[in-house]
Every structure is written in structure tokens, then in C-alpha cells.
Symmetry: C2
Subunit: 344 residues, 2 copies
């Protein structure tokens, strides 16, 4: 059934706060607008009626039954026991090579563990990483308004060598997906000077500074992330996770401050009505749930973890990014870079 | 010269991007509006003319000459060599008990090192901490729109016991300065569940959960900081520093997004003119340079590190907060809590 040249993406239909409605709607839309083939994995009795009501192209969607699902707040380790969950079945399909990439908006820990158990790491890669794509202020050297932060939670703590590999994987991804020819890399630290940080960060700085193929811009501080000072920021997972969740809350904070302030005077309330479209647009710029999702890097197959609150449009974007990463051989690029590093 | 009941605050007149103008202006204003006595430490030849032009009350300001100053970007360790810098002289005055508290907007590392060398730690306190006061969304249980985050850079890494002491010091400060009777404490972590984090965080969670006198609300994620989910967030210094610098950049990011969006349509440009006052007010809410400053907790004397970009008003606030912390005996409260912890 796979047509030559087209890509097959397996989509966890039960993952995310809006499942199965959002994944099914995303698949239906993709079936009409792209040449991708979508394998929708989940509870057939819930998916079929939704698909039936949609205007999906049945040629491009295949339903794979999975009788259970991992809840968003379920213990990831416990979820490994069940082989009939949608993420377990979807990962199995990916591991067997029956799909080119996997997209899920479900439980992040469960996704990481299932993929980690079934899919091989790229030779030479020590630790896989969860990379977050986040919006930045416009940057002179890069038209893409997004930058990459990794690791954001797959590895709480890291060695200097892990951080070097995150830089390598992030650079490979950014150069393929964001089309920045020479993505710059920053090491998240307490200050910009070379000697800053604990021993791990100082050693990582040295490794990054001298590694071939990495365009290291030096240490960066917290503010560099939203400002987009570099294309790729590397850090241990605890730090990256806290930073990401803080960034994700910006829209909410902003909206609350704006609403509270504008309600204080009559002329401001009038002005606010004039600016409603602009205010919505600004708030949307900070809506992480609308972005394409976070790639999990270092496996031999592409895995995109979409935001748990993803709407159909965000899931569509995630699937498109996954297809692009397959087409542009992100995994191959990471493998080459890892091999070059090992050969040194 | 010290009148009974009045407080003496030593102010580093050469610290900060706007020194000596901002500290001198702050001292002049305080001399007219409070009963505080201010010791202004710095280059007499530069301070005297500024003081002369101000409407300062000479009875309340005393000038102490210091022939050099530590630059904002100077290596803190190297600055320890010089005993004639304004921060060295100011710390000396504090250590001798000739002032009740110290305020400086200068080099943070130099302030920490000078104070650490000359001023005793409170018995039982293992590591002193730099605490950041940051704005939050309005919170139902607390009228104060500020919360506390510590450590933000005095200790890159920490033990679980250090984190417990940070909680104790932050609680003592918040209950005195913010007037929250039972300040809640959160442990910054990768997730809210009790088992989250590395071994240090898991152990810290256990210590915090069972410590007397600490109102532990559990683990908190990155978004909890700006939302003000708890009154006091504790974390290792590297994490806190990155979070603080990210929070500090929010105003800049917001302003840039607002300006860019509002310029896109004529009616939005018109609306923006109507709302200029509101936009300024929102941006100001995120201006960290206008807040009172970051207390350095754990020493036997009160030290407030004001933001490097502090205007006179911010420095005035910092001095007032320092005086309030002296009056309400924050150091004594920390000492009692540390003693209670040791006695367990």
C-alpha cells in the first residue's frame, strides 16, 4: 500500500489531552492535503466513528487497533508493562520499520521509555535527548523564528560528553529543519565567561569549543533562550525542563497582566477593544501548544513528541515536521556527525 | 550621631551601572523622607559635588571615602585583593557593627565574596544564599505581588541539607518582609510528583516534607515561579540563576513582541497610542531593575544586593527593605529556625 516516495507516519491516536478527537482530525486533514500515509493507532471503536464523520481520504489513513492507552498522568515505568497501549503498539510499528516516524502527544515519559526499549540508538550516541522548539525574537542571522533547547527532560543530569552530543544532534536537526546552514550553539550557564559554572559545565565548554563541526558561541545566560541569541542551547535535562515550562507559561502570564491592566481605566478598555486582534496575535505567539512538537533525538528513527494540549493543527505540523526530518535524513546527519566525533 | 531607634544603613555609592549618581540621589531622598542614617561609601571627590547639588539633609548622611571601586565586570576573586574599594570599605563598616545593614548595586560576586570573608554566618547555617524577589500574578492567599526564589547564584550546586536551609531562610524572610504568616515553600523540580528529580532533589523533598516550621507545598515546575504558586521557591544556584535571568528578560521580550505586532496595521497603531499608558505600565511590571533588590541570607547582618541597573527609586526601596529587615530581626528569625533544626 505504501506508494514509492511517500512517507508513512505512525500517529498515536490516544495520546494527548484532546485525544482521540485531535489526532483523528489531524490525520483526516493530512490525508486530504499531503501525500503522507498515516497509521492511526488506538481504540477502533472510538476512532472509526470520528473518522467516518470526517472528510478523510481513506486511501491515506490506516487504522491500527490498540485496546488500551497510557494516561497523561500515568507512571511511565508502570506503562511499560502493557503491550496493548496505543503508544506500545505505535512504537512497535516504528521499530519494525513499518513507519518512517512516530508522532505522539501523549505521556512524555512513557513515549521516551517505550521508544528507548524498542528502537535502537544511533551508533556512538550515548544518551538520547528531548529537544524543545521554542519561539524567539527575530534574529538577524536566521529567518526561522524558532530555536532549539535540549535536553528538556530525558536526562536529569549529564556528563560533559553528553552535552557535546546534544550540541551535535541539535545542530544536525537545526541545519536540516530550520535551514540554518551553520547553526550556532550555546551552553546554558550562570554567566558568559569561559570559566563559569561547575566542573561539568567548564569541561563541556572546553569540549564544545574544540569540537569539529560545531559552531560554538560560548556560554549563554537564561535570557539568551527567549531572545534567540543562538540557534541551539544545550543543558542538562532538569535545567532545560524548568526553562521550558517557564517559557511555556509566558503567554498565560502575559495575558493575565494585560487583562488586569486594561480593565483599570475606561479609555484603556476602549483601546483594548480596538486592539483585540493584536492582543490575540501576541498571546498566540507564546502558545506552545500550537507549535510542531519536540523531537526526540538520537534514535535511529524520527520521533516527535507533540505538546499534550495540542490542537489538530499542532499535530498536523508535528507530522509534517516528522516527514521533513525523514526526507532530509536527520538521523543520517546525526550518525555521520557522531561517527566523525568518534573517529577523532 | 546615631539617634536611639534609628537605623544606620551603609550604601555602596560606587556600585551599579548608574553609580555614583543613583546611590547619591537615593541617599539624598531617604535623608529627607525617613529617619534612617545613611553611610555613603565611595569616591569623595565625585560624591561631594553630587550631594551638594541635592537637597539632602546633611544630618542624616555621612560620607566615607573609598579610593577605588570594583567594576561590574571585574573578576570577583581578584577584587578581594583591594581593601580600598567602596564595597570592601562598606563591608568593613558592616562587619564592625557600625551599620545595621548593607545595600549595594555593584558586582554581585564581589559583594558575596567580601561579605563572606568579613561577616559571620549565622550559627548552624551551612551556606548563605542569594534570594531574588520577583513579581508574580495576583495570588489568593497573599496580597504581596512578589515571591522569593533562592538560591540564584551563590551556590552552583547544593546538598539536600542546603536546600532545606534555603527554605528555612526564605520562610523567615518572607514571613517578616512580605507579612505572609505561613509562607509556602516549593522545591523546583522536573515534575510535581514526590519521586521526581535526581537523588538530591528526592532527598530534599523528604527533608522539606518533614521539617518543622516549613509549610512545604511539594515539588513545583518552572511555571510555578512567575505564577506565584508558592511564596518561596528553593533550588540550586545554577538553576535559580538561569530562571531569574529568564524572568528578567520577560519585559524586554514582551515589549518587542508588542511593538512588532502593533506596528503591523494602521488601526492597531492608533489603538496603541490610546493604550500607551497601559503598555508602559505592563512593561514596568516586568522591570526587575525597579524592585527592591535581592537579600543575601544567612549572614549575621542584613545585606541587600540591588539590581545593577537600579535607578534611585529602586535603591531607595532596597534601603527601606534593609531597614525593615533589621527592625523585624530577620537574622534573629533565621538563627532561631536554624537552632530549632539543629536541636531536632
Amino acid at each position: 500500500m505504501k506508494t514509492p516516495g511517500s512517507r508513512t507516519i505512525v500517529l498515536d491516536a490516544m495520546g494527548g489531552d484532546r485525544a482521540p478527537e485531535a489526532p483523528v482530525a489531524a490525520a483526516a486533514s493530512l490525508s486530504r492535503t499531503t501525500d503522507l500515509r498515516i497509521l492511526l493507532v488506538g481504540d477502533r471503536s472510538r476512532i472509526e466513528p470520528l473518522l467516518g464523520r470526517s472528510a478523510a481520504d481513506p486511501e491515506r489513513i490506516e487504522l491500527v487497533d490498540a485496546t488500551s492507552a497510557v494516561a497523561m498522568d500515568e507512571d511511565p515505568r508502570a506503562s511499560l508493562e502493557r503491550t496493548d497501549s496505543s503508544i506500545a503498539v505505535a512504537v512497535g510499528i516504528l521499530a519494525k520499520g513499518e513507519a518512517d516516524a512516530l508522532v505522539s502527544a501523549g505521556n512524555t515519559g512513557a513515549t521516551l521509555l517505550h521508544v528507548g526499549r524498542a528502537v535502537r540508538r544511533i551508533p556512538g550516541i550515548r544518551r538520547t535527548a528531548l529537544a524543545a522548539v521554542h519561539p524567539t525574537l527575530p534574529r538577524p542571522h536566521n529567518e526561522d523564528p524558532f530555536a532549539l533547547l535540549l535536553d528538556v527532560g530525558a536526562n536529569l543530569t549529564c556528563t560533559p560528553e553528553d552535552l557535546l552530543q546534544f550540541a551535535l544532534m541539535g545542530s544536525a536537526y537545526a541545519s536540516r529543519i530550520s535551514k540554518v546552514t551553520r547553526p550556532t550553539v550555546g551552553l546554558l550557564n550562570i554567566g558568559e565567561e569561559a570559566g563559569k559554572g561547575d566542573e561539568c559545565l567548564r569541561r563541556a565548554h572546553e569540549l564544545l569549543r574544540t569540537a569539529p563541526g560545531i559552531h560554538f558561541a560560548g556560554n549563554v545566560e537564561g535570557r539568551a533562550v527567549p531572545l534567540g541569541v543562538v540557534d541551539v542551547v544545550v543543558c542538562p535535562g532538569l535545567l532545560g525542563n524548568v526553562v521550558l515550562k517557564l517559557l511555556e507559561s509566558q503567554g498565560e502570564i502575559l495575558e493575565a497582566f494585560v487583562r488586569r491592566t486594561l480593565s483599570k481605566r475606561l479609555d484603556w478598555r476602549v483601546g483594548a477593544r480596538l486592539l483585540q486582534g493584536a492582543i490575540d496575535r501576541i498571546t498566540r505567539s507564546f502558545d506552545y501548544a500550537s507549535y510542531g512538537g519536540a523531537p526526540i533525538l538520537g534514535f535511529e528513527r524520527i520521533v516527535i513528541k507533540a505538546h499534550g494540549r495540542s490542537h489538530p493543527r499542532a499535530l498536523e505540523n508535528a507530522v509534517k515536521v516528522a516527514a521533513k526530518a525523514v526526507r532530509d535524513d536527520v538521523c543520517g546527519a546525526i550518525a555521520s556527525a557522531a561517527a566523525a566525533l568518534e573517529a577523532r
